[in-house]
């Protein structure tokens, strides 16, 4: 990967993150009912957004891999799944920490929480498959199918607060159709945090994709070296 692009993306991510942190801790007003702990929301929601985007990308890469059979799509899908898993884990952990003072429990089998846990388990399975099996086209095809099927849970997570009885708040649009964030400073903080996490995701994705491409190149070179050794033995 181009080092200057890497640095530029890293700097952009760092800058946006600093602004987001300032807004979360200094700029945004404290929510009236929940108090200071509601500020977890400004990083909890972007983590969820990035995880959903990452899993959507896994499915898109899966479709392209099955169509074109190019290892680039397989590597990109793998990188997206791994990054998405990091953010999905953060969604569950920060949500649990937020739930404890507000709901009085670390975990409840609420529809939003349960469907998110299912999502985490699905992509955990995807990554386990990649880690345990050899890097063969057959495994890549199987992983592509898993990635395409698993993404079906993302819309279920999103609409779960409307489909089933739940205690999880519908943040952006409430059941009554109203806006969950009344103060414009809250909206601005959320948007900046969304931008910061999107930049972070793109940066991590590119970093991880570069290592996976390197691994593919090493496998190719090892094959060439074996052939060269065989040819040297024949002479």
């Amino acid at each position: 990967m181009n080092k200057s692009l890497n640095l530029a993306l890293g700097a952009l991510t760092g800058g946006l993150m600093v602004v987001a942190i300032y807004m979360v801790f200094e700029y945004v007003p404290t929510e009236a009912d929940q108090g200071i702990v509601q500020r977890i929301f400004y990083f909890h929601v972007p983590c969820a957004w990035v995880a959903f985007a990452a899993f959507g990308l896994v499915a898109i890469c899966g479709i392209f891999y099955l169509w074109l059979e190019s290892p680039i799509w397989d590597d990109l899908g793998y990188a997206a799944a791994e990054s998405g898993m990091v953010f999905c884990t953060l969604v569950l952990v920060t949500g649990s920490i937020w739930a404890k003072p507000i709901w009085g429990t670390w975990w409840t089998w609420d529809s939003r929480l349960t469907t998110t846990l299912i999502l985490w388990l699905l992509y955990g399975g995807y990554l386990l498959l990649r880690a345990m099996a050899d890097d063969t086209p057959q495994v890549a095809r199987f992983a592509a199918v898993v990635g395409i099927v698993a993404v079906a849970d993302v819309p279920v997570v999103v609409v779960s607060v409307r489909l089933w009885r739940t205690i999880h708040p519908a943040v952006l649009v409430t059941r009554e159709g109203g806006h969950g964030l009344e103060d414009p400073r809250m909206v601005a903080t959320l948007l900046v945090a969304l931008a910061a996490f999107t930049a972070l995701f793109v940066w991590l994705l590119i970093l991880r994709f570069a290592t996976l491409r390197m691994r593919t190149r090493i496998a190719k070179l090892a094959g060439e070296l074996n052939l060269a050794h065989a040819a040297a033995g024949d002479l």
């Binding site: 200071i36 702990v37 953060l90 390197m214 002479l235």
Partner: protein, 61 residues
Amino acid sequence: MENFGYLFAAYTIIFAVIFLYVVFIWRRQARLEVELRTLEARLKEVRQELMARETTARAAQ
């Protein structure tokens, strides 16, 4: 500042996890770069050896 501990814990975990993931990627990248350079150098050596052998074989004919 009620519940500040929860807020602090949530943000600390977020940054710790992201930091650890970045370190994991960088370390893996550094290891793969070394492996790649070693393989490239070895392949170059073997190819040069092959060419030298071919040249010697042609000269002998």
